[in-house]
Symmetry: C2
Subunit: 345 residues, 2 copies
Amino acid sequence: MKKYILLSIAFTFLLIISCKKENSNQIENVTIETEVTESDPLPSWNEGATKSAIMDFVSDVSNSESQNFIPIADRIATFDNDGNLWSEQPAYFQLFFAIERVKALASEHPEWQTTQPFKSVLEDDMKTLASFGEHGLLELVMASHSGMTTEEFEQIVTDWLATAKHPRFDKPYNELVYQPMLELLDYLRANDFKTFIVSGGGIEFMRPWVNEVYGIPTDQVVGSSIATEFDYNNGNPVIRRLPKLDFIDDKEGKPIGINKYIGKKPVFASGNSDGDLQMLQYTDSNSYPSFQLYLHHTDSVREWAYDRDSHIGKLDKGLDEANEKGWTIIDMKNDWKVIYPFQLN
Amino acid sequence: MKKYILLSIAFTFLLIISCKKENSNQIENVTIETEVTESDPLPSWNEGATKSAIMDFVSDVSNSESQNFIPIADRIATFDNDGNLWSEQPAYFQLFFAIERVKALASEHPEWQTTQPFKSVLEDDMKTLASFGEHGLLELVMASHSGMTTEEFEQIVTDWLATAKHPRFDKPYNELVYQPMLELLDYLRANDFKTFIVSGGGIEFMRPWVNEVYGIPTDQVVGSSIATEFDYNNGNPVIRRLPKLDFIDDKEGKPIGINKYIGKKPVFASGNSDGDLQMLQYTDSNSYPSFQLYLHHTDSVREWAYDRDSHIGKLDKGLDEANEKGWTIIDMKNDWKVIYPFQLN
């Protein structure tokens, strides 16, 4: 339920932004010059302690002469998605999807015109919608993410990504991915790490596009899920999505999901919120050397700046623990030359 | 619960064999000569329709000039384990493990001396044990597979495999794997298929050894599971195994598990029982060309012969459907030159 509590809070936030589009498109017109040299696998990262810490770790554990060497089979790297590989402001992108789905499905559900919380969505009455809280939001998600086959849902997500635009950047949502993190994923894979997503987001909301965008295949995605059933369907078998929670991959759920899906403790974990803290703690307990990475959203101009008090992607306990334990913290504003791929020239 | 119904029936069968060891070790003294040529990726398979069907399919879909070409990212191959990659007679190997675990744990559980079904196990009273049926068996499995951390359980499985011996062959259980299937796994991977196990057996019972034996990493194993919890454990986080079912990866559970863990429909599926039928049906519905493979246990001398009436690995509906749909059926006796790796010279 934790995911939905977060989503519910996100909803409140959505109220604030729902009636206006932020006017910050100028960023994409700036040509960012990044010096790409053959010897630099992380050209969008500024030189400094963060970049050095990452590269020192990877070089060390990949070196068979090092006492810190990690066998290839154990080089498991896990990445949170929302706010870590792509943006999560002004609300989780999956929430925009859920609202659009409810609107798209409305003609098949005439009862929604008079039934809450759907009525509020259809009337763009975000204030009333917010009054239904967590339970109302859960109803929205279940109604909009279930009832179809997995193949139909995949197509719906694909179609949405092809048409929906982010309210601030006016770009498809999956172009709001972080260029420096794409480079980090590539760099880890070049050093024989196996890269996984471990996200509180819906597993089948991510799978249709993450291979193309992140180079991560569907079977290396761990996420929240709803229950499904097998339907023989007169010889054309399908998997049908049910309006019932199966697994919430957030907080304690992340190490549980890692154990369930991956079956190995990671040696590299990357997140941006308190929802990732248990994953980083779990990784930190590896008997191999391990690396814990927190992305701190410090860039109010190029992206967003938020941490301890944010309703979305709250980073509070995690920030304290990272400082205590000497985990690596990315200072987005100072460590990254560029945020999104479309800002590269 | 279906898995446990099967296990329960297996228990009854176990009664029959529990007091005698079969005397068939002569097989391992026979030197099997297999002609290994550079050009033959399946040297332990006799020439014939089965081998040709497999190789024709793989060559065709791997050929970028073919109209049946399948992109590498979609070359998903799923294999059942019990009775398909290793033997499952005279009872599922995990059942031998559960019984041995109950005996090993008995000193920590003095109450088991007087509590059924544990009392029967400790007294080797298989007749009374069987009388508790499915519920009793479930109690055994839960008691013997939970309560410890995942790392402790991994060590227990590893230690068991290092010491326990199969009653007929007097070999460690994970040497009772099928040499021809090892070659098939290698052959598929050489053609850029990603190979997965999709088994009704316990996922964490398989993970400790399948990479070494089958070349399949832990994150490519789908199986039945029990629930777990995250325990921060004063800064030494662990995942603790709970006496509660999480997922049964059998029959309808197999396509559900494939969708949950892999997120893609396979193009190649291999099984040996009615428990694999839904996985083969699901694979058969792929829009790409696909291959369905049933292993028919027909070798009463070198392994075991069983199908429609067997309590373990029953192959009845699956055999009919395979014949109807023209799926490929391995005739173990005639298609395989050798059964186990230790029979190779």
